[in-house]
């Protein structure tokens, strides 16, 4: 990406505004070069790479299990979705079967992640458009979700809770009650948000017919997730290519047809409700007892009990944590529906305990390329709305 804007008109009347990488509403360190005529954007060019951390490359120097901790830091607003995508990919490579109990818990937690991520989106999108209080309300509720994560995994954000073949730990007693409390509290809070925004005249004026993208364009630009569904394409990987027992759950794909910022807002709000539905079903499905890791000696660490009492357990434990395990040579691709869209992980193995290549197809990265399409010809204030509505996470874009 060059740092100069290729001017569309070459006219001297235009002004180039360098929005970001330090700007209050570029959601991190996105830089957008705007060519302006007055306040009208003639050309917008996103410039990325300010948050590049080399996660994909670092994965190649880690064992398969160690790489999980790196996935947390890709999309730092939805760490469990990243964990899930990576673990599913490696499990596919190894041919591991994950116990149902672990699968349901994974579904439950990733759906909570989705709610948490959408809350951050709603809060930041609203504050971008000037509704300051929404931000604090959304973060207040997200805090409850983070508390659940902390209870389960010991970490609020960088959870690394999903492991290859299952989960890191048995969830503590009482965690489902906590989830239940959240489920009871949250629907009223969504209504509160909608009271403040959905029929607010200013909110409507700021989001309706702003950042419109047609279904054809959205597909052509590779847009996925809620941003695609806001354009009327009912495409959701949880339904299309179910993974982790999603086919056993009953939920709807939320779509809107307008393809503007308001439609995407409605889609995400509806998705929060659908996620709650899935969480409720998962709670009913999770068996009280049962294994949380698959039976795969040499790949999945043995239980503490086994490690302490049996010699095989001790050897496996030692081997897994010193040199890791070596999957057969080959390559897999696994896609999941992350809160931001289609998150795919490609893992190539050369038969050694470290992956030969790990590649993330980050939804934010692909969605961002539609930004110029959304905001060219509109006002600066709309650029902010468009960046917000795409729900990008720079950590995921730059990786």
């Amino acid at each position: 990406m060059t740092t100069t804007v290729q001017t569309a008109t070459g006219a001297a009347e235009t002004m180039v505004l360098n929005m970001g990488p330090q700007h209050p509403s570029t959601h991190g360190v996105l830089r957008v070069l705007l060519e302006l005529e007055g306040e009208t954007v003639i050309k917008a060019r996103p410039d990325i790479g300010y948050l590049h951390t080399g996660i994909e490359k670092t994965c190649e120097a880690k064992t398969y299990s160690q790489a999980i901790t790196l996935t947390d830091r890709i999309d730092y607003l939805a760490p469990l979705s990243n964990n899930l995508a990576y673990c599913l990919a490696v499990e596919k490579l190894m041919g591991l079967e994950v116990p149902k109990r672990a699968q349901y818990i994974r579904v439950l937690l990733t759906e909570l992640t989705r709610v948490g991520s959408h809350l951050v989106w709603l809060g930041t999108h609203a504050i971008d458009l000037g509704a300051m209080s929404m931000f604090l309300y959304c973060f207040r509720e997200r805090e409850e979700i983070l508390k659940i994560f902390e209870m389960v995994s010991g970490q609020r954000m960088m959870t690394s809770y999903f492991r290859i073949g299952g989960l890191a730990l048995e969830p503590p007693p009482g965690w489902l009650e906590r989830v239940e409390r959240f489920l009871e509290m949250f629907p009223a809070r969504i209504r509160e948000y909608e009271d403040l925004l959905t029929h607010n005249r200013i909110w409507l004026a700021r989001t309706q017919n702003v950042g419109v993208i047609s279904a054809e364009d959205a597909v052509a630009w590779g847009v996925s997730g809620p941003s695609l569904r806001g354009s009327g394409v009912a495409y959701d990987l949880r339904k299309m290519f179910p993974y982790s027992a999603y086919d056993e759950f009953d939920f709807d794909i939320c779509t809107q047809t307008a393809g503007d910022c308001y439609a995407r807002y409605l889609v995400r709000v509806a998705e929060m409700r659908e996620s709650l539905k899935i969480v409720r079903q998962a709670m009913a499905k999770i068996p009280a007892e049962g294994p949380i890791r698959s039976e795969a000696p040499g790949v999945v660490p043995p239980s503490r009990e086994e490690m302490k009492t049996s010699i095989e357990g001790l050897i496996y434990h030692f081997k897994i944590f010193t040199e890791g395990f070596a999957p057969p040579p080959g390559e897999v691709q696994q896609a999941i529906e992350s809160p931001r869209g289609e998150l795919a992980v490609y893992v190539a193995s050369d038969g050694t305990p470290k992956p030969w290549r790990v590649k993330f197809r980050a939804p934010s990265f692909v969605n961002l390329q539609a930004l110029p399409k959304l905001c060219e010809g509109r006002l600066i204030a709309d650029v902010v709305a468009c960046i917000g509505t795409m729900d990008i996470v720079l950590g995921e874009i730059d990786r």
Partner: protein
């Protein structure tokens, strides 16, 4: 010295009043920021400032000191003179507007001269006020221009357009009041609103014949919010779009001056709303006959505040707070007692009601800030020119007709 005072009594009295009002105004501005932060915090279910002093009461002081000692860089290529001048202009204009606001009906005696609760009683007070507030746009526009930076430039352009557009609707909206009062003198406009229907409904311009100025008030209030660049019309300093708008490049006390100017403007337009539509210092209650007890409302309010403050102070978490807050409560209780004294009781009515109404408006401002999203530039312009201005014009025409008919 005494000769000088004897020869120029008006000047001496005015200087004293200016100094006192400046002091009060500065304190009010400082505590308005505190009040805003506390109320917005309450709306957003957080605490707001509470570390510096009990309930964060010393926060404005800490902020002031911080502003004074911050580094004050000037951006390269800035037009130094104008860059320097702009915040002074904004601040000076915002403060001079207060000069014509009358705070109460009674006169006080300073250096042996009876004088009103107002620095200058102009017969064209209202015109003066609008003249001064419309100059306020220069501070903002020049700041945006002189900074030699793109965000301030956009902010300055936005605010020039916005303030000039809304100035128009704002001025038109008060024409109705002027027609009804037949004067530009602010004192006379208030005295015109005296009296009660059925003994208890105040004859404020908002409700008074020949045409209740409901439309006028609506247009005035919305324009006033836009005029002072507050949410939902805070585009010139829209943080999430233009970083900080016209004052992006300002730091230290120059920034503080813009900040204070904004709050001073808020107070001015609230004062004006009170004067023009809500009867200024007039009590909402009749004070004669069975309503005589309403004279003691100030005392009751202060007493209630004192009790609350005292109880809260005793339970406060820090020792400092447990000492300061009850002492403050005692001071407020003393104020309550003074307000009940014969002679004083009539005198405090004016300022008390006036300031209470202004306070309500200020609260409304803060409330809006905690609730609404921001308009977009073109929507703002459309709103001003296509809705507010026609409404204001219609109000002028209707009021003229009604005044004409009623004077027949």
């Amino acid at each position: 010295m005494s000769d000088f005072i004897a020869q120029h009594p008006v000047l001496a009295v005015s200087v004293i009043k200016v100094v006192v009002l400046m002091f009060l105004m500065m304190t009010a501005l400082a505590y308005l920021t505190w009040f805003e932060r506390k109320v917005v915090a309450r709306i957003q279910s957080r605490w707001g400032p509470y570390r510096v002093g009990p309930h964060g009461l010393l926060q404005p002081l800490a902020d002031g000191i911080k502003f004074l000692f911050k580094e004050d860089p000037t951006p390269g290529g800035a037009d130094k003179l104008i860059y320097f001048l702009a915040p002074f202009l904004a601040m000076a204009l915002a403060l001079s507007a207060i000069a014509v606001i009358p705070f109460g009906p009674k006169h006080i005696e300073i250096l042996g001269h009876a004088t009103g609760l107002q620095i200058a009683d102009l017969n064209i007070g209202l015109l003066f006020l609008f003249a001064i507030t419309s100059l306020g746009v220069y501070g903002v526009a020049l700041a945006g221009w002189a900074s030699n930076s793109k965000y301030p430039l956009l902010g300055g352009l936005r605010s020039s357009a916005q303030m000039i557009s809304y100035e128009l609707s704002m001025t038109m909206s008060v024409v109705g009041v002027v027609l009804m009062a037949g004067t530009f003198n602010l004192r006379e406009i208030i005295t015109q609103q005296e009296g009660y229907w059925l003994g208890f409904i105040p004859r404020w311009n908002l409700l008074a014949p020949p045409l209740p100025q409901l439309i006028g008030f609506f247009v005035y209030f919305v324009s006033a919010i836009a005029e002072t660049n507050r949410v939902p019309f805070d585009l010139p300093e829209a943080e999430t779009e233009l970083v900080a708008g016209f004052h992006t490049e300002y730091a230290s006390f120059k920034f503080a001056m813009f900040f204070m100017a904004e709050y001073a403007n808020m107070i001015t337009v609230s004062c004006l709303a009170t004067l023009l539509f809500f009867g200024g210092w007039l009590s909402p209650f009749s004070t004669t006959g069975m309503f005589a007890w309403t004279l003691y409302i100030p005392t009751a309010v202060f007493a209630a505040c004192a009790v609350l403050l005292f109880v809260d102070g005793l339970r406060y978490s820090t020792t400092f707070g447990r000492i300061v807050l009850p002492v403050l409560a005692l001071a407020v209780a003393g104020l309550a007692a003074v307000c009940a004294m014969p002679g004083v009781v009539e005198f405090v009515q004016g300022p008390f009601w006036f300031l209470s109404k202004v306070f309500l408006f200020l609260f409304f401002y803060v409330w809006l800030r905690g609730t609404l999203p921001r308009f977009r530039y073109d929507q703002l312009m459309a709103f001003g020119w296509k809705l507010l201005l026609p409404l204001a014009l219609a109000n002028v025409v209707l009021t003229s007709l009604m005044v004409l008919v009623s004077r027949r």
